[in-house]
């Protein structure tokens, strides 16, 4: 086959690739650009359908979101909750995943089958009420801690991901560490934990994202204690605020604010994340 024809074919492929990528990027970015542009419009412009770009840029919408609507508090709640969920998820899931992969203990069979049985059951909304009553029993239904624990949840998928990943780590490593006189805990925290980094990046990003974006669970738990509302709940609730749905522009400002932290996290963790998926999810 002539080199030229391969090259030509390659070029055609490249052109189509670009067109496809550009079209799909526009499709995905359009609503977000609309949200961000909308956050600078007036309310009338938004609800009565003005032009795509704001006629005048109203930066004060952000001031309004932050100050009048307490988005500083809710934003802080969101950060605390999401970081808390991330930390607890990473530590508990990695420890549990490690134990399932490496240790033989009494009751393992039963517990592991319970985990596996529940992994693909879509429980949906039925969990909300019992979750809340657990928090009430523990007297943490009115604190961010309660919300954090509820959002961390059982983590079945994460645990199974880590289990799959640990199985790819050579057993010799633990054994060598044990021979070196490491205690079992040190073996886990010093030898194994750092090796899990790629899959933990996945767990971290997933759990942070879930917590940051969650609406229903956070909504139900904060119904009773509005003080612990997260940003997402606060934004959606503006549909029903004191000033009624009037304030779409402030809502969009809030939504735009909510994008930023998670975007930063993604940029930092992006590479780890892909590596983690490559190494863990696939084999898990």
């Amino acid at each position: 086959m002539a080199i030229d024809s391969i090259k030509a074919r390659h070029n055609i492929f490249l052109v189509f690739s670009y067109i496809f990528a550009v079209v799909m990027s526009i499709f995905t970015v359009f609503p977000i650009v609309y949200t961000i542009l909308g956050s600078f419009k007036t309310n009338a412009e938004l609800t009565q359908g003005g032009s795509f770009f704001p006629s005048v840029w109203h930066f004060e919408n952000y001031a309004k979101a932050f100050i009048e609507n307490d988005f500083i508090t809710y934003g802080l709640n969101s950060i605390i909750v999401s970081v808390g969920v991330l930390i607890i998820a990473v530590f508990t899931a990695s420890a549990a995943g490690y134990v399932f992969a490496r240790k033989d203990f009494i009751g393992k069979k039963i517990i592991f089958s319970a985990y596996s049985a529940l992994v693909f059951i879509a429980m949906g909304s039925v969990t909300l009420y019992p979750t809340y009553s657990v928090l009430t029993t523990l007297h943490i239904n009115k604190s961010l801690l309660g919300l954090i624990l509820a959002l961390v949840g059982g983590q079945i998928t994460n645990v199974l991901l880590v289990t799959g990943f640990v199985k790819t780590v050579p057993v010799e490593l633990d054994e060598a560490a044990t021979i070196d006189g490491c205690s079992q805990y040190r073996t886990f925290f010093q030898i194994i934990f750092p090796l899990l980094r790629p899959i933990l990046a996945v767990v971290a990003l997933f759990s942070f994202r879930t917590a940051w974006n969650d609406y229903l669970t956070s909504f139900i738990i904060s119904i009773f204690t509005p003080r612990i509302k997260t940003l997402t709940v606060a934004v959606v609730q503006m549909q029903y605020s004191i000033n009624a749905a009037a304030e779409w522009h402030v809502m969009l400002a809030g939504a735009s604010i909510a994008i930023i932290p998670i975007l930063i996290l993604y940029m930092f963790a992006h590479k780890q994340f892909i590596n983690g998926l490559t190494a863990g999810a696939v084999k898990g």
């Binding site: 009338a44 605390i80 970081v83 009115k142 009773f224 029903y240 004191i242 009624a244 749905a245 009037a246």
Partner: protein, 452 residues
């Protein structure tokens, strides 16, 4: 990795202090300064600023060391109170909604008669409704305001087309169709309803209209003690025509987007509560240049005598029976919400429509009510007794599409009118008869509310 871990550790050290801090303080009866804190939960948003100001003044000036905390729960009040009762942390005062009737029956709310002075009793006596707030000689709340259902229309559009404000069903349909036909090109339509949730939308429009026209309440005939949806048919037909020639996308419309379109002059007519709309077009969605709204009674079939249509009690509060500070709660409530001056100012300011004759008679009628007398309650706005469905909600379970969703589907042309209505009648009666025969309740008959 070490860096990451140490960073995480620092965060770990900080987070708990934030997370655990400020735990239960706000529910405790006394704050640091030794004040008795009374919590009041409401979902009224339109007059929140007005009352907050009164509450602040009271908190600053009262000599009983009482601090009233006025907390707004918007649309989730019912769920919040539900959860609060479960955890024994219910507030001292809660705004009444029908949903809380189950708690009244359960004895969770206090009888306020023993707390009231003779003066207060005299002042509110006209607002004691048998079976509603006054049950077996006990009084649970005082509806200080009321809200009725009316037809709101765009005066500017009606004047422009030379249309008469509709009094009958046919006139309303005709006006709706005319507006749409004439002005569709400008994006103006005759009629709209917020049907995203049919129960929410039709409960505040269609149902009271039918009540007014037929004397049925939620399909129930208090004269015979049976359900009959057949008289709904002409209204369903009329609505079907109006909606299908009406504002596009009603089936996914919420009330606020509807209002914003009405304010922009895109909608000819819709139905809503009297207490809210004037304020909405004053502050939240100011009417567009040159647009003016008007308000009239719900149109009914020509020749039909107007029967009672339901009105809702507003500005009314329940008192938690388990509260340790019931007396303080009543004191604060009396000083702020049973205060004639405040109530007058509330009414004159257009925040709500008073239900107490003393207040109404001594207040100045603002221009709003002069121009739209239909905003005020009339003798045809009545407090209905409870239908079986309302009285026994836990037992009265109608399977399949409930009445509002059936109506929604009929109006949208998804279900045939005749068969849809026949099916509803049959299903509701079946449940009613079954519960009566099982002895859950005796047939509910009330001659005062009979259809004739």
């Amino acid at each position: 990795m070490k860096k990451i871990i140490s960073a995480l550790l620092i965060v770990l050290a900080i987070v708990p202090s934030v997370v655990f801090a400020g735990g239960a303080s706000e529910t405790e009866a006394a704050d640091a300064s030794g004040k008795t804190v009374i919590r009041l939960w409401t979902n009224d948003r339109h007059d929140a600023a007005f009352w907050q100001e009164k509450v602040d003044a009271y908190n600053a000036s009262n000599t009983d060391n009482i601090q009233l905390s006025y907390e707004i729960y918007t649309d989730n009040l019912q769920q919040a109170v539900d959860m609060a009762f479960q955890t024994g942390e219910a507030p001292d005062i809660v705004k009444y909604t029908e949903f809380f009737d189950k708690y009244i029956l359960d004895g969770r709310f206090a009888d306020i008669l023993p707390l009231m002075t003779e003066e207060q009793k005299a002042m509110t006596q006209d607002a004691w409704y048998d079976g509603k707030n006054y049950i077996d000689g006990k009084l649970y709340f005082i509806p200080e305001n009321n809200t009725c259902l009316r037809l709101f229309y765009n005066k500017t559009i009606f004047d422009r087309l030379g249309l008469k404000v509709p009094e009958t069903l046919d006139e309303m349909v005709e006006a709706a169709v005319t507006i749409t036909n004439e002005l569709k090109g400008e994006g103006i339509y005759g009629f709209a309803c917020n049907l995203k949730n049919p129960a929410t939308g039709l409960n505040r429009s269609f149902e009271p209209e039918v009540e007014r026209g037929t004397g049925l309440r939620l399909g129930y005939d208090f004269g015979t003690g049976t359900y009959d949806f057949t008289p709904y048919i002409p209204y369903l037909e009329a609505w079907k025509t109006m909606i299908q020639n009406g504002f596009p996308g009603c089936e996914s419309l919420d009330i606020d987007p509807l209002r914003s379109q009405f304010a922009a002059g895109k909608i000819g007519m819709y139905m809503s509560y009297t207490h809210a709309e004037p304020g909405v077009y004053e502050s939240q969605f100011p009417m567009a240049e040159g647009q003016e709204w008007g308000c009239t009674y719900l149109p009914i079939e020509e020749g039909a005598a107007a029967c009672g249509q339901y009105f809702e009690a507003a500005l009314c509060f329940l008192f938690n029976n388990e509260s340790e500070n019931l007396d303080a709660a009543w004191k604060a409530y009396s000083a702020i919400f049973l205060n004639e001056d405040n109530l007058r100012e509330h009414f004159e300011g257009g925040y709500g429509i008073s239900n107490l004759p003393v207040v109404l008679e001594s207040s100045e009628m603002s221009a709003q009510y002069e121009a739209n007398p239909a905003l005020l309650k009339t003798d045809e706005d009545v407090m209905w007794p409870k239908t079986p469905e309302q009285a026994y909600p836990q037992d009265f379970i109608v399977e399949g599409l409930d009445m509002y969703n059936t109506f929604g589907a009929i109006i949208a042309g998804q279900i045939d009118v005749e068969s849809g209505v026949a099916d509803l009648t049959e299903r509701y009666n079946a449940v009613n008869e079954r519960l009566i025969s099982q002895g859950v309740y005796e047939r509910i008959i009330n001659p005062d509310f009979s259809r004739n």
